[in-house]
């Protein structure tokens, strides 16, 4: 379980997340992509904390912060999706292109 290996796993998760974010039409699926991005970031963070940053407790705290971000983004995201669905009946990005140019 080398540092590089874990980082590559994190990179893979991040890459999948990027793919998801760019390819998915549905807001919910988009958010899953974002989750995966953060997931990768979290994994990278923890391995760096354990192997590279000398177990600095700030890293653990940073992990909490990451998860807070995840939670907040999800919560706000769901609320906004609910809101936009209510006024626009829209659940995919293509339905929202009134604001442009």
């Amino acid at each position: 379980m080398s540092t590089e290996a874990v980082l590559i796993v994190a990179a893979a998760l991040f890459g999948i997340g990027v793919y998801g974010v760019l390819s998915q039409q549905s807001f919910v699926m988009l958010m899953m992509g974002i989750e995966l991005l953060i997931n990768g970031a979290l994994l990278a963070l923890v391995v760096l904390w354990a192997r590279v940053a000398g177990g600095n407790p700030q890293g653990q705290m940073l992990g909490i912060v990451f998860m807070t971000v995840m939670a907040v983004e999800m919560a706000i995201g769901f609320a906004l999706i609910a809101g936009v669905y209510r006024v626009r009946r829209a659940d995919i990005t293509e339905k929202l292109r009134r604001l442009k140019g």
Binding site: M1, L7, V9, L13, L36, A50, R51, F78
Partner: protein, 189 residues
Amino acid sequence: MIEGPLIDAAFFVFAAGAIVTGYRVFRTDSMVRAAFYLLASFAAVGGILVLLGSEFLGMVLILMMAGEMLVMAIVMVMFMMNPAGLNPMVMVHQNRTAAIAGIVAFVALSAVAVLGEFPDRPAPEPAAATQELGIELLGDSMLVFQTAGVALLSTMIGAVAIAGRRGRYGVAEDGSLEPPLQPDEEAMP
């Protein structure tokens, strides 16, 4: 930190699980299934976190994601134009660009992993990560902690304000519009 072949084996299992399930999230034809794949991916990552000596973060991650996926499933059922959220569906665009971007991201970050100038500073043994985290949380990072608290509070207020259907004074969205250009049109509903 624990080392050894068993650990490596476990890591490979978790790693493979995380990546495969993560990939399956966007390769399944049902949103609900995707949600569960995502949960699985998170669980696998949680496992790796535990392996890395960060038990607390790993467990929190798994628990939090479990709850979150539940919400996600509900949202899907509630709002998606595919009412059951269980039917097969393919909803992708600019697939090739996305794939290229994903691969580029992966390659770039892998390059960072391999070529990166990371110093070797392993965590001292035995790791008391959770305890240190507690000290950090209420000590050095108190401001961060408090800020996060405010952020969570605002999130709650905001989520309720946006998504709540029933407000304190009747239907929540009533009157929540821009003012009309001529005030006489502004009869209160």
